[in-house]
């Protein structure tokens, strides 16, 4: 594979890599008859980003005789090459040294040439099987508008919640009715549909997703000075962010969203004015760890996005194949979908026996309708997914996703586990930090105290 592009287009490519680098640690590059596509997946596998450049972006575009071409390289080393593009006049990308290196040549102003050889970590690709054109709700607007939403929340914020109604959109850093830490500042921004260029919310939805990857792509929309659209159905199903610039650049970011089952709600957590007349003394402060009103319905809290080890329940799945290459370039499909497994696999000439063996298993897999030569990411509707059991090592991940959600009820499903603090696992139990003030808002009903 070898392609060349002129300076200003190379700068766009560099911006794309910079945005993708804020999502994942590895960059998957794929060249096919349609152009070049770059993808990445984040560490918790809750986000897949893809940016496609059409052939029209390139001055020359040569495919290998064997058909399409893909590789995985380390994001960090790639980022270093594309860091400073101001001086670049011409850029050449190629796969060299028997497909072991990805070569970047930058011809710069003042007769300066920069060259980098990046090791190809793997001939591997990822695809996502999420349908990307069927969302009920679609909101489109200038990147500046989304920038203002993003900037209303601090950099360290992890999640963003959108409350979409036919006549209003609220962006929040919390879920209405869900309990938050008593040091946590709730923030919200209320927007009107008229601020967007397209606003279609057919089905009211409250969706929560990671803001970091959202911001990464927003940055690219800014670089392109483009409109951006977000598409989604309801909580728990994927959230899509799309950017299109003319016909040349198409981006899509797929984010998994928090399932409503993972959040505990309470009337107690809604806003009201303080009416209590006077305050008890401070001494009582320490004791107020007793549960408040016990209205919670604590349910399963599998953070769907982080589950990967259980095949049946996971949202994204990885399936790795050492790739023998297909003999022909893939046809016109814009994205390689799940059903796209009908390509014929032919072992490349230089491939060794091992690859041949793999090809056999590959063919077997292909018959099960998995696309060859790629690591696939499947997306299941959460409702259809069987109950999830979190593998123990994943619990921490889930905690990181949302620290305010207690993990304990999850363990109930692991029948072999001896319960020690059994009361903690009852679904009426609400762990609470000591109340920040000294008032007791409900009479103490716990006889132990």
């Amino acid at each position: 594979m070898k392609c060349t592009l002129e300076g200003s287009n190379a700068r766009v490519l560099a911006k794309a890599i910079q945005s993708l680098s804020k999502v994942g640690k590895e960059l998957f590059i794929e060249a096919d008859g349609q152009g070049l596509q770059m993808r990445t997946i984040n560490a918790t596998q809750s986000a897949v980003g893809s940016i496609r450049f059409s052939r029209a972006m390139f001055d020359t575009f040569q495919m290998p005789p064997s058909g399409d071409c893909y590789c995985k390289i380390a994001m960090k080393s790639c980022l270093g090459v594309f860091r400073n593009m101001k001086q670049v006049e011409h850029c050449e990308l190629s796969v060299v040294n028997n497909s072991t290196k990805f070569q970047v040549k930058l011809r710069c102003k003042l007769e300066t040439t920069k060259q980098a050889l990046l090791s190809i970590v793997d001939e591997q690709n990822i695809t996502s099987a999420v349908p990307t054109d069927q969302s009920v709700n679609c909101i489109r607007g200038d990147f500046k508008l989304f920038m203002e939403i993003s900037n209303s929340f601090i950099a360290s914020e992890e999640e963003l919640t959108l409350e979409a109604k036919p006549d209003s959109l609220s962006a929040k850093n919390y879920i209405e009715g869900a309990r938050v830490n008593d040091k946590f500042m709730r923030s919200q921004l209320k927007l009107k549909p008229s601020e967007f260029s397209h606003y279609q919310v057919a089905q009211e939805a409250v969706i929560t997703f990671c803001i970091k990857e959202f911001r990464a792509f927003l940055l690219f929309a800014e670089a392109l000075n483009a409109e951006m659209s977000i598409e989604f159905d309801d909580a728990g199903s994927p959230f899509l962010l799309k950017i299109k610039k003319h016909a040349e650049i198409e981006c899509i970011l797929i984010l998994s969203t928090l399932s409503p089952d993972d959040v505990s709600f309470s009337e107690d957590y809604c806003q009201r004015e303080i009416r209590e007349a006077d305050l008890p003394s401070v001494a009582q402060k320490r004791k107020s760890s007793t549960p408040g009103p016990t209205v919670q319905q604590k349910r399963r809290l599998a953070e769907n996005t982080t589950v990967i080890s259980d095949e049946d329940a996971s949202v994204f799945q990885f399936r790795e194949h050492r790739p023998p290459r297909p003999s022909e370039a893939p046809s016109v499909q814009p994205a390689r979908l799940l059903a796209d497994g009908d390509t014929v696999d032919v072992v490349e000439e230089e491939a060794d026996e091992e690859a041949l063996l793999l090809a056999v298993s590959e063919a077997a897999q292909a018959s099960q309708a998995y696309p060859p030569n790629s690591t696939e990411v499947y997306f299941f509707e959460t409702e259809e997914a069987p109950p999830t059991v979190l593998p123990p090592e994943k619990i921490n991940d889930a905690e990181e996703e949302d620290e305010s959600i207690p993990q304990s009820p999850e363990r109930e499903q692991r029948h072999k586990l001896r319960t020690i603090f059994s009361r903690c696992f009852q679904n009426t139990y609400v762990p609470r930090e000591p109340s920040p003030n000294s008032q007791v808002y409900a009479p103490n009903s716990d006889t132990e105290d």
């Binding site: 380390a74 090459v81 400073n84 007769e111 300066t112 090791s119």
Partner: protein, 272 residues
Amino acid sequence: MLTQSQYDDYKFVCRLDHIKTFHAAIKSICFSDFGTLQASEEGLLITVEQGKSIQATIFISPSFFAEYHIQDSQSFSIKINVLAECLSLFGLADCGIKMLYKGEGSPLLILLEPHDDEQVSTECAIKTTNVEEPMEYELDSNSSSLNTIFMRGPDMSNIFHELDKAAEEYELTISPLKPHFKIATLGVMQAESSVEVAKSSDMIILFNCHATTVAQYKSQQIRLTNKALQVATKVAIKTDASGLLEMHFMMQSDAQEEMYVRFFITPLLDIS
């Protein structure tokens, strides 16, 4: 303020109307604890060393100063970062500066007067210690392998700034044939990179090379030149078959007077 007659007490007095270039030069060599000041009729030298592998020297000719008085030759060492700290006391505000030295054992006095506020002035007394003789490095100017390149400072700065900071070593190649001038980064996982500048490039003012020289340097030492590079208008690079690297950074004040910072960096031993 001191009058002319009071200078008699002092072995060395100099004055600058604008602190900016001097401050930038001092900051660019602040990579070690102590610096040595050597003042003579020829001018002022300030030298900083780290180990026996890198040395930086500021050269300031008497004409650079608004006033310059010297009795005999004076040399002493001071904590260089204390000097840099004193010069930065008023931040970005432009100051006039006067330095006075009474002789062995006395502190170096520095008087700072911000131009935009006559009601404020500062006097710093910096303790001096006995001088430590700096190392002597030299390139053989008669060597047939002596290669010299003069480059425009800002362009050179761009190139150095973009070098992969993860690299442990940089390899410099200067050659009469292509690639003329090349810097390669060595020792980075999963990536090798290099940058080449053709001798016909507009950033190269002079390219004088007869034989190819190749040498490796610790990237960390090359990066110690960054601050000097950032403010340099012109840079000279000299090396020969021994690999010793000599770099000159020319700094110009607003009044167009010149000041030089010279670096010597020793190459890594060729183990092969």
